[in-house]
């Protein structure tokens, strides 16, 4: 079978599968699409105005805006800086996350800020969630930068590379003299969690130990 006829066979098979879904209809009314579109457009304008008018206080302003807007657009730019982490959103949709090695992680804050940046994530302290088998794309989604002595982990996250139905899992454990965080990609509908600190990196993931964690958030 040559390439063209093989592709034709695949095309026919996929078309048959699609045609078997004739009973499936999009239930979302047009009005809901337009309403969400208007909301997104207003949000973009709000972010733009805020960014133009307050350069000097940009870091603080972006942190404030996060609370005001509730859900920022996936590709807005800006920096969220807390004691425990710094999250920089880039115009290309990617984000850079730096975790402070000396401050204990506030899981709900980081999870919320990642989601507002278009990055679905499950951030936990004292447990770690993983899928078996794990989605294989973790290293296309997260790339770690070399660590310096003074900094905790720094990583670049590309949410566009995340397969549909997946999210990131960050599991942080406070150990006697350090923190340990495991990173993986999980299937949203199929994962298990453990409250024991992993002793090895998860399959298709990363485990890092760093710092001491001396003060909350």
């Amino acid at each position: 079978m040559n390439d063209n006829s093989a592709l034709d066979t695949l095309r026919d098979s996929l078309s048959t599968a699609r045609d078997s879904l004739t009973e499936v209809h999009m239930t979302m009314p047009l009005a809901a699409i337009e309403r969400h579109g208007r909301t997104a457009r207003r949000r973009h304008k709000l972010i733009g105005v805020a960014g133009t008018g307050a350069v000097a206080a940009s870091a603080a302003l972006v942190v404030g805006l996060t609370g005001v807007t509730g859900s920022a657009p996936a590709h807005s730019t800006g920096t969220i800086r807390t004691a425990a982490f710094t999250l920089v959103s880039h115009a290309n949709g990617m984000a850079t996350l730096t975790i402070n090695r000396d401050v204990l992680l506030n899981a709900s804050t980081l999870q919320s800020d990642l989601k507002q940046d278009g990055i679905p994530a499950m951030v936990t302290v004292g447990s770690f969630c993983s899928s078996d088998p794990a989605p294989a794309d973790f290293f296309q989604v997260v790339s770690f930068q070399p660590r310096s002595r003074d900094n905790g982990p720094t990583m670049t996250i590309n949410p566009a590379a995340m397969p549909a139905g997946t999210e990131l899992s960050f599991g942080n454990f406070q150990l006697a003299n350090s923190q340990q965080t495991s990173f993986a990609l999980i299937n949203t509908g199929a994962y298990t969690c453990t409250s024991s600190a992993p002793t090895a990196p998860p399959p298709s993931g990363v485990m890092l130990s760093y710092g001491g964690g001396t003060s909350p958030r």
Binding site: L14, H25, M28, P29
Partner: protein, 160 residues
């Protein structure tokens, strides 16, 4: 073409194609809704594309849908359409579709645009922002994987 006409004429087909890719009925609808929302906000640009519905599908496959999950309850109550059971996607079966869902995102995009939406290589390359040769390479690799999955259905198991 007006957006309303575009939405009414393409929404079901977009949903079915995304559903083949993700296998979850509600997730597929959230993703497609996000794709159409972005098309609405950029309609002047999107309507002039060669295949606006392919743009919606591609955007849906790349979208983050957390905000739709938050709004789902409100949207369902506001809809006058008949609700579809959440497990309808479970009716889709077959090794080919299961193998499609296991493909890396880029390969799934290429298979979807080239084989399900019948775009040519040039149009697919333009839509994905990659070289035509890269489209062909992804298509070849993905087709090999799919053919292998059909030939050896017991080699891999479906995890979801």
């Amino acid at each position: 073409m007006e957006f309303a006409e575009f939405y009414e004429s393409t929404r079901d087909d977009c949903l079915r194609i995304v559903l083949l890719n993700v296998g979850d009925r509600q997730l597929a609808e959230d993703l497609v809704a996000e794709g159409f929302t972005r098309a609405w906000t950029s309609w002047r640009k999107v309507r002039d594309l060669q295949a606006p519905h392919a743009w919606v599908v591609r955007t849906a496959l790349n979208a983050n849908v957390s905000r739709w999950r938050r709004h789902r309850h409100e949207v369902v109550l506001g809809s006058h359409d008949i609700a579809v059971p959440a497990d309808q996607g479970a009716a889709i079966s077959g090794e080919l579709v299961a193998a499609l869902r296991r493909l890396p995102l880029r390969q799934r995009e290429v298979i979807t645009l080239r084989l399900l939406l019948d775009l040519d290589t040039e149009t697919t390359a333009k839509l994905l922002g990659i070289a035509p040769g890269t489209v062909s390479a992804h298509l070849h690799r993905a087709a090999e994987t799919l053919r292998s999955a059909i030939s050896h259905p017991d080699d891999q198991e479906i995890t979801k």
